[in-house]
Subunit: 304 residues, 2 copies
């Protein structure tokens, strides 16, 4: 019987679970995020029902946060200080590990998605890149030297400060912590708050999209200057507007103004700033890829 991996993409509104070895053989399930006990319990039941302890080699979790992704830490595998009711200080990886008896990899939702894009998506073979998701919030995951970046806690790329074009945009920003940070100006709730309607209902020629592209480009240009990524993958619900990616590319070039003189940016921007190859499955497939790596690491340590 062949090996299987489990992936859990834990979002604030829904959980997505996948079982298999990659994009071509997935069994999937999704259900609303309610209490930690019920929701994590449903994920565990899914893997117990669909797989077996003989086949399931590891589970990977990519989750909303903030989280503690540091394996040496006492709170490793916890969702920590989230404002989401009932979920603060929730042991997530530990509960899954004890219920299923397999290695459990644990990271942020965006780090998982970045890892998935490297495994099967738009960043295959690239050891140094950024994955951004622009949806109800903005999150970013980075690989540097082939490893997911954690650092002190983990990146919170959605909360950088960018210039707010007050003349064109009197909207104060939607972030409860920072008002007009990147996420506060450019995530889905800002589109809705500024224009009075949801982003997906705004027509392609609405001025909303030029302003949105400007703010997204400011964020992207800042990440280019800070991390010098070899590629930037931009996903999430807001990016479904078909014009947006090319508008962002144009504005990034204008903002950098030939300062970063790499042909990858100056000559091939359409290969530099790209959509996720895995689309909305980047997160859950990334969690699966984290599981695959955890199983391989376990085999490398205990090869018998």
């Amino acid at each position: 019987m062949s090996v299987q991996y489990g992936g859990i993409e834990a979002g604030g509104t829904k959980f997505v679970c996948a079982l298999g070895t990659g994009p071509s053989d997935l069994q999937m399930a999704q259900f609303p995020t309610t209490t930690p006990g019920d929701t994590i319990g449903q994920a565990i039941d899914f893997f117990k029902r669909r797989s077996s302890r003989d086949r399931l080699a590891a589970v990977g979790i990519g989750t909303f946060g903030p989280v503690d992704p540091h394996p040496g830490s006492a709170r490793f595998g916890y969702i920590t200080t989230t404002p989401k009711p009932g979920w603060a200080q929730t042991d997530f990886a530990g509960v899954v590990q004890r219920a299923l008896g397999v290695p459990v990899a644990f990271d942020t939702d965006v780090n998982a998605a970045a890892f998935g894009e490297q495994r099967w998506g738009s960043a295959q073979g690239i050891d140094h890149f950024i994955y951004l998701t622009i949806g109800t919030g903005i999150g970013g995951g980075a690989l540097v030297g082939g490893e997911l970046v954690h650092g002190l806690v983990h990146p919170e790329m959605g909360h950088i400060r960018i210039p707010h074009d007050w003349k064109a945009d009197p909207y104060a920003g939607a972030c409860p912590y920072h008002g007009d940070c990147f996420e506060g100006l450019a995530a889905g709730p800002a589109l809705q708050g500024r224009w009075g309607q949801r982003g997906e209902t705004l027509p392609a020629d609405h001025p909303a999209w030029d302003l949105e592209a400007y703010y997204l480009a400011l964020g992207v240009a800042n990440f280019v200057c800070t991390l010098s990524p070899k590629r930037i993958v931009m996903g999430g619900g807001v990016m479904r507007q078909p014009r947006l990616l090319s508008l962002v590319r144009e504005q990034v070039l204008q903002l950098l103004n030939n300062y970063v003189r790499a042909p990858e940016i100056l000559e091939r921007i359409e290969e530099y700033i790209v959509a996720p190859g895995l689309g909305p499955q980047a997160g859950v497939l990334g969690a699966l890829a984290l599981a695959e790596r955890a199983a391989e690491q376990k085999r490398a340590t205990h090869p018998w």
Copy 2:
């Protein structure tokens, strides 16, 4: 005879050379930056005169840029597209390597300084941190997972965009590429352009310093959100104003607004944002540390 390392800190106005094994046994020289041939030649002469081929194990270079720091590249060791007259497309590491016949390590000035601070300064034992220099420009070097970050080219942290407080500060910014980017608003030339006098002549209670701290804190907060560093070391001429570091710490806390809930930030900010332990010698000692590492890597590869 004991081994020696050479370090070259190549700046736009002066070169600093050091020979020794660390901060306690340095022989040093400095001279103005003129043409590449003369200036690199003087550095080579310094090492030839003061050391010998038997003793000198390696040379490290930390230089103004942009540079090509990728060992596999055809232009490795070059200063590339600098606007500095005469210096564009200058082979730097290759010339030094051929003249001295030893391994030559090559990186940006700020990456070298970051490496020096980790070896002997304020970031000893820390594998994930940022070094910033605030002087005639703003530069940043990062270690992630114990390795200096390069990526596509190398970081250009001075050129991120931050909110410009137009009400308090009508000054347009000093960056020839971006106007009011981070460097354009907060490096030495911006202080001089905004207030009509050099930063070192502005008294400690001048309102310049609150505004300066605000802009610096915006940059620092953005780097915290993007890279989640475990420490931030802030050096350079502008930081010599004694009040500035503590003003920056206060403003960083206000900007983050308890969003990044790490005790290292919330409870011990004075150990989180710190001055360089090596002071103005961070750059040249970092270059020396790069040489030390290059010699060790050579010994690891050719242990005889």
